[in-house]
């Protein structure tokens, strides 16, 4: 249970970048899971894949629902860009800190499109293989590969822009 909760919470948190929303979404995932448990069949693949699918669908629903709010927010943000500006002047040992990198990745993830974001999260943060991601996203393997590739490149550029150096 704890392992599944953490997986769902992490996926939600990496996708939304908001702890409060991730907590609510995680709870909603399990409620939905509970209601649809009877419809779970082995044909849906592994339980983890199914769990990830349910979470992902809910995240996309949530993303669409809150798009309007976010657009308004981002307009507000543009008025004070200094707060979110990259910090290239930091020392390398600070950047090496794992917690900081995690926060920077989190920040960069929010800047790429949701299609690329979810693909990178599922592959590189959740460790799913291409076949599983294909099932979760319901898109062909070529599309999955191309989104992961595109997502990594955009993320790498954003992080470089933030001053993160490659190891």
């Amino acid at each position: 249970m704890r392992r599944h909760t953490r997986r769902v919470y992490n996926l939600a948190y990496r996708f939304t970048g908001n702890r409060q929303e991730s907590e609510d979404l995680s709870q909603e995932v399990f409620l939905r899971l509970y209601r649809t448990l009877a419809s779970y069949r082995a044909v849906h693949g592994e339980f983890t894949t199914w769990l990830t699918s349910v979470t992902r669908n809910l995240l996309i629903d949530h993303y669409r629902r809150t798009r309007r709010d976010r657009l308004t927010d981002s307009l507000d943000d543009e008025k004070s860009p200094a707060e979110h500006k990259a910090s290239p002047g930091r020392r390398p040992d600070e950047l090496a800190s794992a917690g900081e990198l995690s926060a920077q990745v989190q920040s960069a993830l929010q800047k790429i499109s949701p299609e690329l974001r979810e693909a990178v999260i599922l592959r590189d943060l959740q460790g799913l293989d291409y076949r599983e991601i294909q099932q979760v996203l319901s898109v062909p393997e070529g599309t999955v590969k191309s989104r992961i590739n595109r997502g990594r490149i955009e993320l790498a550029r954003l992080l470089t822009g933030m001053g993160v150096q490659p190891e």
């Binding site: 992490n10 907590e23 990178v120 943060l125 590969k145 590739n149 790498a156």
Partner: protein, 217 residues
Amino acid sequence: MVWTCLDTEERLSDYLEGVLAADERAAMEAHLTGCASCPALVADVRSLAARLPQLEQAVEPTWLMFRILEATSGAVQRKREVTWKRFFAGLLAPRFALGLGAVAATIFILFQALGINPKKMTADDFNPVNFYRAADRQAHLTYARGVRFVNDLRVVYEIRSRLQEASATPSAAPQQPEQKSPTSPQSEHQLKNDLLRHGPSVIAVSALAGYSTGGLP
């Protein structure tokens, strides 16, 4: 094979994962040696792809799991309500339906016995005191009817035995052979008819009156 920067971008993950065909790989590496921007991109993405899986996981608050458990046990309760409905549907199964029928019949008989009219039923009917009174009244009524019936029977048999006595001693009234005696077959037949029509008590009284005027000893 001509390899462009765009090709590098498109096949970067395949290259890093080592799934590029040999000729493509050679072409890309050749491009990388001569390109000014691509090697940096490859280094950045390689580093990112290596570091991302090692990022520590976000830790959910401890109460989250309990909140989820609580919420999903609420779902269990909702499910139980549904099973209650199923339980009531199960009452329509033949064995329960028969049982219900038997209970209904018992209640009907009890109502009849207690003199409760279901159409004019009031809350008072279910007051234990009234329950007792109604039962008591019904019992007394039944007893009284029984007593009356037995008494009537006794009178009828008494009359019959006297009539038989009278017919067994015809010499008792030899002087009036033409007079209609209550012992004659016709009068006995009449008595039966009257019995059927008016009930035993009335006939008994009138018969006794007839005896007294009939000049019995």
